[in-house]
């Protein structure tokens, strides 16, 4: 068993691990007890596990722990905002009631937040393309796009 220091949601944490190939997703969920990043496919195909590493949207299910350095800033949905103090994208998702089961929503918000940080005035097509590799099965697409547009307009 080895230990590794990580910066997660602004806090310095130490995680014990045996296999350096263990994906970051399991570190976040099992070692740190976070609920934001979700297991959806383990293949980087659906986006449910998305987190930010230094502001970029990354699929944590295919990111081995060994690829994350202690200098990098890992942010999960919990670190983005809280029910009391939601991030503008989270608030826009609440305002638009943009969830059904909500299982994919972590990925939708993390992907959108990273996208909006670099694209201030996206068109609807830009938003749809930015989310093209995030899957939603409930069919909440229209609301999600509206929420991202709302967040963009308020940024």
């Amino acid at each position: 068993m080895a230990n590794k220091s990580l910066n997660v949601n602004g806090k310095r944490v130490s995680v014990a691990y045996d296999d350096p190939q263990m994906p970051l997703l399991y570190v976040l969920r099992d070692n740190l007890g976070l609920h934001g990043p979700r297991f959806g496919c383990g293949l980087g195909q659906c986006g449910a596990c998305t987190v930010h590493i230094d502001g970029a949207a990354v699929r944590s299910c295919v990111t081995p722990l060994s690829a994350v350095t202690d200098k990098q800033k890992v942010v999960t949905l919990e670190g983005l905002g809280s029910p009391q103090k939601p991030h503008p994208v989270q608030k826009a998702f609440i305002d638009e009631q943009a969830a059904q089961c909500g299982y994919c929503i972590n990925g939708m918000i993390m992907q959108s937040a990273a996208f909006l940080a670099k694209n201030k005035k996206p068109s609807e097509a830009d938003i749809k393309n930015a989310l093209a590799n995030n899957l939603c099965r409930c069919g909440t697409h229209a609301r999600i796009v509206r929420a991202v547009k709302r967040a963009a307009a308020q940024a």
Partner: protein
């Protein structure tokens, strides 16, 4: 609002209700199974504590549809308490009444109305009691406080912590509140779960943990029906967290003290399986379906003599065959469950839509009396029917029993795509006769679908089947006969459901089971007949409909979609992209929710790619509980069904499903998502009917009809892949 309590009510109680405020709830409820669960008891559905907090117990669960909000609205409204004061417990076999599976868009329609009636009876009893206490029958209720004669008494003071002990008598239902007085029902109350879901605070089944829990993974056979010949777990010795490799018959699983080691163990265990090739050649699937033995023929919607009318001299006979591919539920979160055996009792936590039914199955599998099994619902990813949740629960129970500790089983993506039960393939032959005046004189349909075990909706559990433990032998695709009959008034009609003895994969219900496939064939064929008689497709439907609500819906749909009255196909506009519109309509199961939809499509002639830029939907489900929740459900139905219509098809070889991930079973992506324009028809004084799956029923046919309008080419085989579209255009 002032409520007049009759003198009789005030003096002797409330009509037929027997009111007892004397039973202390706390002590009794602490005992397992002591809480009333019968559908005839108010206490089964409702408790009010000493602080005035209302707890509603619902056997129907929230599958991501927002019903935890809608059911609270119904209860808060009927009781006259603030929305925020109502709490909800769902899907716990020890605490909630068995209101049936959460399926068929029946949660509000059936479950919600049972809760409404329990609340109405409770309120009536509380008012009667208050009348006695306050000495007046002129009472008002505000936020759970009853006032009259200058005095007040709260629900908490009257009943707090005690039982109602009221029996519900369906023959003498309690008087419910008049819809004109509604303040909470009918309003777009924001969903209670969304703030936590968008901030990572929500606990899904996949997040749920119990103390001392281990992690399990299953190792499924590479072929359906393959036998487990040998297991070599030598490679697992180097994985420190491995607890046990569990083998029972053809069931194989790995248990570890942490999740990643369980995953590694399941990957690295070497299992040898026998070869098994039980599946038909997918290229000849429809021949296989047609050749399958018919176990039973069921006849629906018979009027006149359709065979005679079809054979009549001088009529024009139109025929068409439609097929609809095998679909998987495709939950974004693969199934997950935890089980614990303790003191001779099995506790199962899962996202099952049917905890009461699952209890029966687990009891059967482990030879336990049902009262020794408790199934508790914890919300998971949307399931859209009976997916793998129950199977994961059985996996967890088997592993938990083997290691004597609680075990959590998380399915992989391949487990979910490969082993959840499937929406069966459906084939439909349609025939109609048109007389010389252009009237439809006969309508017939033959619908090929698997049989349904009478009254048996227990889809066999994979772990039970593999291990050889007792399992239900039900074939349960759901009530897939529904909507095979039509609501149009043709003189001679007959729909025959050919219930096949078997089907390709273990079947189950997936959103809008049967209603989608049957409505697809019926509404496409309606369009074919409209074209054959050179009639506008909307006008054609109106001509044969004598249903006032249906006709109003079609009128409003025409206005919403700015429907241009003309026959299809449109006159060739040329160009590389053909544009068209198509309509579809249905009265769900012919007895409830009305839905009409218009699809706008663009067909790229060169690539065969269909785009659906816009859908218009008009929806009448009677009384609306939460209009925004309803719209969310309709939008979901449209999106998911556009995906199923254009893209989805489960692939398999002779041994096994080969669509084991999102690359081999693609679904709709954002750039393909249509705009959806919805008009809700609210009828507050009518019964609330189901919403969620009805809207999905009309989507495939609306698209098909729009493609015909655009191109003059009929597509009759779902999904409408570019290859099929190109082939159809070349053939025409």
């Amino acid at each position: 609002m002032t409520i007049q309590i009759s003198r009789r009510d005030a003096l002797i109680g409330s009509g037929a209700l027997v009111v007892s405020f004397s039973l202390p709830l706390g002590g009794a409820q602490a005992q397992a199974g002591a809480k009333p669960l019968a559908l005839t008891e108010v206490d089964s559905f409702l408790a009010i504590d000493k602080a005035g907090k209302v707890t509603v117990y619902s056997g129907k669960v929230d599958l991501g549809t927002g019903i935890t909000t809608a059911l609270r609205q119904i209860a808060a409204e009927e009781l006259d308490v603030p929305f925020a004061r109502v709490d909800l417990v769902t899907g716990d076999t020890q605490l909630t009444p068995d209101q049936g599976n959460t399926w068929g868009s029946l949660t509000v329609q059936l479950g919600g109305m049972q809760i409404r009636q329990a609340c109405a009876a409770a309120r009536q009893a509380l008012l009667a009691e208050a009348a006695k206490k306050l000495g007046t029958d002129q009472l008002t209720v505000t936020d759970g406080v009853i006032s009259g004669g200058g005095k007040k008494v709260s629900y908490a003071e009257l009943i707090g912590g005690k039982s109602f002990a009221i029996t519900l008598d369906p023959k003498q239902p309690a008087k419910e509140k008049a819809p004109k007085d509604y303040k909470i029902v009918g309003k777009p109350v924001p969903r209670v779960d969304i703030p936590d879901k968008v901030t990572g605070r929500f606990t899904y089944m996949q997040d749920f943990r119990v103390p001392g829990m281990l992690h399990g993974r299953v190792v499924r056979p590479p072929a359906i029906g393959a036998k487990l010949e040998s297991v070599d777990d030598g490679a697992l010795k180097k994985i420190p967290g491995i607890v046990k490799v569990v083998r029972e018959g053809n069931f194989l699983g790995v248990v570890a003290d942490n999740e990643w080691d369980a995953i590694r163990g399941a990957r690295e265990v070497k299992a040898t399986w026998s070869t098994s090739q039980t599946l038909p050649d997918q290229d000849k699937l429809w021949d296989y379906v047609r050749a399958t033995k018919v176990a039973k023929e069921e006849e629906y919607g018979k009027t006149g003599n359709s065979a005679e009318a079809l054979a009549k001299e001088g009529v024009k006979v139109v025929k068409a065959t439609y097929d609809f591919a095998i679909h998987t539920h495709g939950s974004i979160g693969p199934s997950c469950a935890i089980a614990e055996f303790k003191d001779g009792q099995l506790t199962s936590w899962s996202a099952s839509q049917a905890t009461h039914a699952l209890r029966k199955q687990l009891a059967q599998m482990f030879a336990l009396p049902a009262e020794k099994v408790r199934c508790i619902y914890v919300e998971g990813a949307g399931c859209y029917g009976r997916n793998g949740h129950e199977d994961a629960a059985a996996d967890a129970a088997l592993l938990a029993k083997a290691v004597g500790k609680p075990v959590r089983v998380q399915w992989s993506r391949a487990d979910e795509h490969g082993w959840d039960p499937k929406g069966p393939p459906t084939l439909v032959d349609m025939r109609a006769a048109i007389d010389a005046q252009g009237n439809i004189t006969a309508w017939e349909g033959d619908f090929y679908m698997p049989q349904q075990t009478p009254g048996g909706f227990l889809v066999p559990l994979v772990a039970a089947t593999l291990s050889g433990l007792p399992a239900a032998d039900h074939i349960a695709p759901g009530n897939v006969f529904q909507n095979s009959a039509i609501g149009y008034k043709f003189p001679n009609t007959r729909s025959v459901c050919k219930r096949l003895e078997t089907t390709v994969f273990r079947p189950s219900w997936i959103r809008t089971p049967g209603r989608m496939q049957n409505t697809y064939a019926n509404e496409c064929f309606m369009d074919e007949l409209a074209a054959a008689t050179n009639t506008d497709p909307l006008e054609f439907r109106r001509k044969y409909l004598d249903d006032k609500r249906g006709l109003e819906l079609l009128e409003r749909l025409a206005a919403l979609a700015k429907w241009e009255k003309r026959p299809s196909p449109q006159k060739a506009a040329g160009g590389s992209v053909a544009k068209g519109r198509g309509i579809s309509y249905v009265k769900y199961e012919l007895v409830r929710t009305y839905i009409g939809a218009v699809a706008e499509v663009e067909v790229d002639r060169a690539s065969g790619v269909i785009r659906v830029p816009r859908f218009y939907v008009v929806h009448d489900c009677g009384q609306i509980i939460n209009p925004d929740g309803l719209k969310n459900q309709i939008e979901g139905s449209v999106m998911q069904t556009v995906s199923r219509t254009l893209i989805e098809e489960l692939k398999f070889d002779r041994s096994m499903v080969t669509s084991l991930d999102w690359a081999s079973y693609p679904i709709l992506k954002f750039p393909q998502a249509p705009e959806i324009v919805i008009e809700l028809i609210d009828r507050p004084n009518e019964k609330p009917w189901g919403a969620g799956e009805p809207a999905a029923a009309v989507i495939p046919s609306a698209i098909s009809n729009a493609v015909f309008d655009a191109t003059g080419v009929r597509l009759r085989s779902i999904p409408y892949t570019p290859a099929k579209v190109k082939a159809a255009m070349q053939a025409s």
